[in-house]
Amino acid sequence: MTLLIAIVIVLGTSLGAIGFGRRSRSSSATMSNWAVGGRRFGAVLFWFMNAGEIYTTFAVLGISGYAWALGAPAYLAFTSVSLSYAIGYWLMPKIWRAGRKHGLITQADFFTARFDAPWLGAVTALVGIAALIVYVQIQLVSLSLIVRLTIGSAISPDAAVVVGALLMLAFVFLAGLRSAAFAAGVKDILMIVVMVLLTATVAGKVGASSFLDIFHLAEQQHPGIGSFPGIDPKSPTTSVWLMTSALNVALGNWVFPHLFQVSYSAASGSSIRRNAIWQPLYSLAYFFIILLGFAALVAGTKPEGGNLNAALLQFVSDKYPGWVIGLVAGTGFLLALAPGSVLLLTSGSLFARNVVGLAGRDLSDRSTLWICRLSMTVFAAVAVWLTIGQSKSLVDILLYAYSAIGMLAPGVFLSFLWRRTSAAGVLLGIAAGFVALLAPFAKDFWAAQLPAWEPGLIAMGINAVVAVLVSLCTPAPGARATAVGLDLTAPTAGPVTEAVRSAPHAGEASPA
């Protein structure tokens, strides 16, 4: 029963998504069409594209797990979306304009054009890919948990990770960006159904008088759970942790290559700005997820190996009938597969276009597509390798991913704000930031001096300072290049000379 329902949901959505992606692809099969949806995403598709990238398995399993294990630190979820859009309202239309004006497809294209430096495009592409691989890990960890929920513990956790990766690759090979938006839409609706269903029935499952009573019971059993630092009074997750982590997420969010590309895909700046008004409200759904995490705690749920990521799934499989488990599992598969496919597609196109493209001549459709696919498979394998044998919380992995991508944030913001920003400044900023983030001496220093601070935010600050200082001593790029970030008005006269070489055709992402 469980397995059947899960399979029906996943297969049904996949077929629908592929059909939807095909239908509109008739006119022109180009890189710009599958990577940025032909820049034609209106309000509805743009909404689901955004929501699809925000509400992933991280949202459901990671946040409920954090609520179960720590309590208050799960509130990070409420800050991530609203603060990102407060910045996005200003930033995303700029990215959209730059992309539209200069025919940009990837994030690295932007760096290439803004600094007239394809090598910087390649460097930023590699940084972006690294962060995306860490992000893929989140989907893999979740997929493996859901595989085990549906098939049973007969399959080992490591084998489940590999199965998860294969599922994701299968989905990616079949789907383009439009297909992913469709699958994202289905999974969002299913997620709301599941959340309402679980919340409506949860009080009876844990012996509370109403669903709100669960907060009361949790506070009774674990005094202090509802405020920082949470259940464990010695945990480093203090108010300062929330403040620095929330800022790090908000500043890094649009710098993720796939979200940068989402800005390109909009049909107009108004659709971006209008979306920014409503999208935060959607994050109130985290209320249900945190509630369920607390419910799992009150019910005394004990996930296998104390794995906090599995807390919600364990709770559901302890307390609910088979068809609910199947519904949760099917939804969970989609929650990982739809965003995961976008992450892999983005990393593949970055690699083919901005890394291999740097060395080679113009590549043919066929070879670009093959490079894309081959590199996506390799990246998925790397993510599997990183995932196997470790049991970090999904929230921690997410914060790692944000720390890594945060290294590109000063470059992006300065590009739009300061004419003098130079390629050397951006490069050395990235280098200094990574040293601050990864070097053992730096790590130890932050851990000792600022234990509650999110290290990613510290590294981002150092990165920004170095980028500014170096830019002051190095020449700014030419006027045509700086205009990519700073002159975002309509071109006045004459044909616009494209700052990047024209896009190679990648063909379709589907095998047809």
Partner: protein, 101 residues
């Protein structure tokens, strides 16, 4: 040439002071976190810091909505329509579909 570029860049960064309202969500959801952490009231049994963050989401939406309306009044939509028309060629799909066959 360089000076016209510079002038246009300045014009594109035209001052819209009301956009600073977008800082408010950061004040609510970040700066005030330590202030509200020890409030013991629990509206609808929800721990106060959690209720505060949920209210913060509403505040953020409202603030972004207000800035949107002010932008509309400042004529951003009209300027943007011109931009879209002027960039039809570089937007991608059309340009590449032509040279495909």
């Amino acid at each position: 040439m360089a000076s016209t570029q510079r002038r246009r860049q300045r014009r594109s960064g035209r001052h819209r002071p009301y956009r600073w309202l977008l800082v408010l969500p950061f004040v609510w959801q970040v700066a005030l976190v330590p202030v509200v952490n020890d409030v013991s009231a629990a509206p609808f049994s929800i721990p106060f810091p959690m209720a505060w963050q949920m209210a913060g989401v509403l505040v953020a939406s409202a603030v972004i909505g207000v800035v949107f309306l002010l932008d509309e009044r400042a004529g951003v939509a009209a300027e943007e329509a011109d931009f879209i028309a002027a960039t039809e060629d570089t937007a991608g799909a059309r340009q590449h579909s032509g040279d495909r066959s």
